[in-house]
């Protein structure tokens, strides 16, 4: 359904994409260079280089524990990094003295476990960011929230509390909450992993619409069929490094690295490709 957008799918060896992704006249949406991150003695990210062009959708795949969530959390400045730099729309967000709150307003993240605010209505969940971080007037924030709830098909649930919604509905609200900030970049961390199989479709459909609308997204996922459809590039994360990357067709049919082949074989065995 979503063919890889021409001109936005750099093909080539890992890390060669650093220059290839930049279109004429516009800088990349996201540049990650030499990113390292440890938790105590455990080095989780061991030199990540990654570039996303404007409107590009990149999927991160890799075994559990390979560092996908940590990478996304670092990009959203939820984790301090140990080395390297991250640049969003030309601004180095990992520079010392940067206002993290201002940066986070421009970068949306959706979590595996939804993390909706259980004490607030759906509407308040979505308006909280615009009201408090963007300081919009309540009426304006509400109009904006309703617009996004309308788009995800949950406008009629605006006054409900999250525990009255199905998992799929909760996750769509979490996406609307992130979108209501009108971010430049959206990070999705295995957003369907906690859902019952029959609820996965409605969430993935929404993400597809966002991709078609031109949202720049970095997506950690185990849904390989989805990655193949939506991503212009797939990056295989292994032991804290991007071991291999390329367009999904090439990655899934002819992976170069043995580790990638092993991982994909396990995924096929689990019936997810």
């Amino acid at each position: 359904m979503t063919a890889p957008r021409p001109g936005l799918s750099p093909v080539g060896a890992p890390h060669a994409a650093t220059t290839a992704a930049v279109g004429p006249g516009e800088g990349p949406a996201l540049v990650i260079e030499g990113l390292r991150k440890s938790f105590g003695k455990l080095e989780v990210l061991r030199g990540i280089d990654l570039v996303l062009a404007e409107h590009e959708v990149v999927c991160l795949i890799g075994a559990s524990g390979s560092g996908k969530s940590t990478l996304l959390r670092c990009v959203n400045l939820l984790e301090p990094i140990d080395a390297g730099r991250i640049v969003v729309e030309g601004e180095e967000i990992t520079a010392p003295g940067v206002d993290v709150n201002r940066i986070r307003r421009r970068i949306g993240i959706v979590f595996q476990a939804f993390n909706l605010f259980p004490h607030m209505s759906v509407l308040d969940n979505v308006t909280l960011g615009p009201r408090k971080a963007l300081r919009l007037a309540p009426a304006e924030a509400e109009a904006r929230a309703l617009e996004f709830l309308e788009r995800i098909g949950l406008a009629d649930k605006a006054r409900e509390f999250p525990d009255r919604l199905s998992g799929g509905q909760q996750q769509r609200v979490a996406i609307a909450r992130a979108l209501a900030m009108r971010p430049d970049l959206l990070l999705l961390d295995e957003i369907t992993s906690a859902l019952d199989p029959e609820l996965v479709g409605e969430v993935l459909r929404l993400v597809r619409e966002l991709a078609e609308g031109g949202m720049t997204m970095l997506i950690a996922t185990h849904e390989m069929g989805f990655a193949r459809d939506i991503a212009s590039r797939v990056c295989f994360l292994d032991a804290g490094r991007i071991l291999e990357e390329g367009p999904p067709a090439a990655m899934f049919s002819a992976p170069r690295e043995e580790r990638t082949r092993q991982f994909l074989r396990r995924i096929v065995e689990a019936g997810r490709l």
Binding site: N101, N115, L116, L128, S166, R177, A178
Partner: protein, 278 residues
């Protein structure tokens, strides 16, 4: 409420009506026996005369109930201050990072200190000590020191209750709030504290009941409140019945609160169970 309500009844299981009858009968028998043992004891006539004298009850009750108004003012004013101060201490104590180490040290010392000291000692020290300094401009009203002493002691306990509530909110809630660009303070104010406070309302009510009873301790520094008033009545009548009036007043005031606490706890349990299945 009958215990079997709502459950399907199997053969051989007593009906709701029958269980209610059994409960009533066993209660009547139990308390009947206790009453009989007490009333037939050799000392009962003397105890009855000095603790349950109807005339003394009627004559002392109005002044005792009036004196209770002082306790009510005490615990209402103190509770407002306690809830505010306890929250501030809990938040200060939860501040992360090395920069806030002195803040954590001070608040920890405060909490440890006022939980270690018997409340009556704090009341004594403040109530007699500070006016005793005879500094110009320092007030001497014992009521004021009573409020301050109760606030200091109880805010230490209440801050621990709040802190448990704050720590019970999963860190992913803060991450979600901060990821929207909310400041740490905004995340605390709009996301963490509302959830934390809701969870600790029952233990806060428990401490409120404790506070109500501890207001009698301020009689030691000369506040004429319910306990002091019942002592005055007891001494005037050579009879202990005024203390029974006081006991009755506290029972009437605190039992509804205790029931309310239980209802809230039960409601939270049901809510959590309902949230868990989704």
């Amino acid at each position: 409420m009958p215990a079997s309500a709502g459950r399907p009844r199997r053969a051989g299981q007593p009906s709701a009506v029958r269980s209610t009858l059994v409960a009533v009968a066993s209660t009547v028998v139990f308390f009947g026996v206790v009453a009989w043992v007490v009333v037939s004891s050799p000392g009962w006539p003397a105890v009855q005369a000095s603790f349950f004298n109807g005339e003394v009850f009627a004559s002392s009750a109005p002044s005792i109930v009036r004196a209770f108004w002082v306790n009510v003012q005490l615990f209402l004013i103190a509770e407002v201050l306690i809830l505010a101060l306890g929250l501030v201490i809990a938040v200060l104590r939860s501040l992360p990072g090395p920069v806030f180490f002195p803040v954590r040290l001070l608040t920890t010392a405060y909490v440890d200190g006022f939980r270690a000291l018997p409340g009556v000692l704090v009341i004594y020290i403040l109530g007699f000590g500070i006016p005793g300094l005879a500094l110009p401009g320092v007030p001497v009203e014992p009521f004021l020191y009573a409020v301050v002493a109760l606030t200091l002691v109880y805010s230490a306990y209440v801050s621990e209750v709040y802190r448990a509530g704050i720590e019970s909110v999963h860190p992913s809630q803060e991450a979600a709030a901060r990821s929207l660009g909310l400041t740490r303070f905004q995340a605390l104010r709009h996301v963490i504290l509302p959830q934390a406070v809701r969870r600790v309302i029952p233990p806060l009510l428990n401490d409120f009941i404790g506070l109500q009873k501890d207001t009698v301790l301020v009689s030691y520094i000369g506040v004429v409140e319910i306990f002091r008033q019942s002592y005055i009545q007891q001494a005037g009548n050579f009879n202990f019945t005024p203390y029974m009036v006081t006991a009755l007043v506290f029972i009437v005031v605190t039992i509804p609160l205790a029931r309310l606490t239980d209802v809230l706890i039960a409601r939270d349990k049901r809510r959590q169970a309902a949230g868990g299945v989704r």
